[in-house]
Symmetry: none
């Protein structure tokens, strides 16, 4: 649906919306039982919600596309994940929970091994352990740049992120990684004045880094990729009239929610804390994004039973929303993570919407096969939000 | 899905893909049995593939659109058949298997009857038999043009094609057919320099034609329509990273496959040769387009039983793919040709996808009614290819 149309119809009152995301929810059938993790799970509460509500299948980005967490969540938040190019550096910074400001340029670092002649001998520095990455990031974080602040943060193994903070920096600059060994890293060049300023800072950072870690056995140099200026998107509130609260244990998902202007609730500890946070702050927001990571983690680990167990745990907790008044509850995932594949996949994701004015379909349980025949059909994730708004009575009639 | 996005995610390795096209596959139910040709066919192998795979319905171009063979196949090859304007002259030349080169301008000819005053008395020359068309094409093919090669080829009845071959020809020229009798054919005019050159050649061709066939009783003049320069499309390999082999008995389908840069296997004779060609060349290509014409032909002939028999024949042959390793098999049609209508129709076409990482739906047989409830839903043919690529493990994850 046209973004402009939705925006013109939004009303700032109506019921509340809870979006419960089971990360990596979709699965593939087990060879023996023929059931996915979700279908095998004992989930009487989700089944009841599916039976009373309406169901369907969503393509997070599009048919055939396996989404990363960034695009997957942007779609769920009603943004077109293909049109919106957040930039890899920004996604990396969001992914580690770095608090980006509007002028920041974020960049991915790969620690690499350089030979004596300055050419690359290993683009991943032998995949140094994360602890070593943390130590090196600490060293590089002390570099001082003229007229700019610098932040260096470890990510994982040989991967880190650097953030340049100064007014007027551009991101029209090249990567330094030549994508092969035997070549020297490229210098950074800017294609316009603001980007030339970024290039200057980046080249100086690279030279300083070489001085400070040049004596390391493996990670004696850095490659910079994915320069991206942080540009907050049109906010969730502007677009949909919703004051949104993100409730997530992992920084990546908080980061994407912040990118669209949601507030972030600081939750820690058990899965139940996510559900408690909704009821605790129920009066202060219109929209609650609740993110459960355990399903995806189990899928990535190839652990069918753990994914099934995570779904069963959610099922027990979701009944806490039963008595929450005047709301539309949406349950889905940001992509599939079949435990048989140990990775995100392109398969569509089951979805249920429960609320007072839902027209139920004949689906009686929450599962891939059942939802494939659901009344919402198969559609793009970015259409979920308009559908939820409508069910919450938050979209005016279009035309007389 | 966005073409650019798909292109950016393509990996040049993964499983192979076999696209088996039963031309005109879709049908309408028989009045007595209530079954379409496909539903009536005894097709245990296709049913088994549908049961183990996932099914759906495709719109070759869009809801309500009856596609010709060109658009129908472009959609199956992952190209947008509406955006891509191949040009009618080019389609006509491809349809008769003419080997177009990149500078060629191809044009449709209608033989027509002109009165003594030069005005048209019959725009189709009384629909002369094809043999007469062949004789006339032979005569016109001898015309010599300064600085250009000329090819004239018969198509059917009063229809033929002319190809002008020279460097630097344009196709921004008008048709000569005024679309009514009593008027004289238009002169050809070019709207830019290259097209003025084409106009000059075309006008001279028309004048020469009039000299040579002016004495014919019926077909004593020519009308030229659909001037189109041959522009090869971004190739299948560029777009999808697939080395494709087209295996088809009829020139039209080889032509459309060549248009997107597939190689063409010279097969002749029986339907089984199509299936043998796949296994014979299995190691040399990533993608196999196998085209079966018999289903469409029977539909066009209004022969329900023959169409059913053609499907049963395919069913016996398709089991040869059972032992072909590591592949995704797609079975569908380029459009419907219900034998009751004796023509192409707008009805959507059943589709099945079988492969290792398919999430099966509840559909147990390959037929129109069954596939309408399939897990892939109803969608545009051009989305088949991304879906097949994804199942073959040939699309990287999008975003972090």
């Amino acid at each position: 649906m046209s973004d402009m149309l939705i925006r013109s119809l939004v009303e700032k009152r109506g019921e509340k919306i809870i979006l419960l995301v089971l990360d990596g929810l979709g699965g593939l059938p087990d060879r023996v039982s023929g059931k996915t993790e979700l279908e095998a799970a004992k989930s009487p509460n989700l089944d009841r919600l599916a039976a009373k509500g309406i169901t369907g299948m969503i393509d997070p980005v599009g048919r055939g596309i396996t989404p990363g967490s960034g695009p997957g969540h942007l779609g769920l938040f009603g943004y077109d994940p293909v049109e919106i190019d957040v930039g890899r550096g920004v996604l990396a910074a969001l992914g580690i929970g770095f608090d980006l400001e509007e002028t920041d340029v974020a960049v991915r670092i790969n620690f690499a091994t350089l030979g004596e002649d300055g050419t690359i001998t290993d683009r991943r520095a032998g995949r140094i352990p994360t602890e070593e990455c943390e130590r090196l990031a600490g060293i590089l974080g002390d570099i001082e740049l003229p007229g700019a602040e610098l932040f260096v943060r470890p990510v994982k193994e040989h991967r880190a992120a650097v953030i340049f903070r100064a007014e007027g920096l551009g991101d029209a600059v090249n990567d330094t990684d030549p994508q092969r060994t035997g070549a020297a890293p490229y210098d950074v060049e800017g294609r316009d004045e603001p980007s030339k300023r970024t290039a200057e800072l980046a080249n100086r950072f690279i030279a300083e880094a070489r001085k400070r870690i040049g004596g390391e056995e493996r990670a004696n140099g850095v490659l910079l990729r994915g320069f991206a200026r942080y540009r907050p998107l049109p906010t969730f509130e502007e677009r949909f009239g919703l004051r949104g609260l993100a409730i997530a244990l992992y920084p990546m998902y908080r980061g994407v929610a912040r990118l669209v202007g949601m507030e972030v609730q600081d939750v820690r500890g058990k899965m139940s804390s996510l559900f408690e946070a909704v009821t605790a702050h129920y009066n202060d927001y219109d929209f609650f994004f609740v993110h459960v990571k355990d399903t995806d983690k189990a899928g990535e680990d190839g652990d069918y039973a753990a994914k099934q167990a995570a779904i069963e745990k959610v099922d027990r907790l979701v009944s806490r929303f039963d008595d929450v008044p005047e709301k539309v509850l949406v349950v889905t995932g940001d992509h599939s993570t079949p435990s048989q594949m140990k990775s995100h996949s392109h398969h569509p994701v089951p979805l249920l919407i429960h609320g007072r004015h839902v027209r139920p379909d004949g689906v009686r349980s929450f599962g891939e096969s059942a939802c494939a025949g659901g009344g919402l059909g198969r559609f793009a994730a970015k259409e979920i939000l308009p559908t939820a708004l409508a069910h919450a009575g938050r979209l005016r009639k279009f035309g007389a």
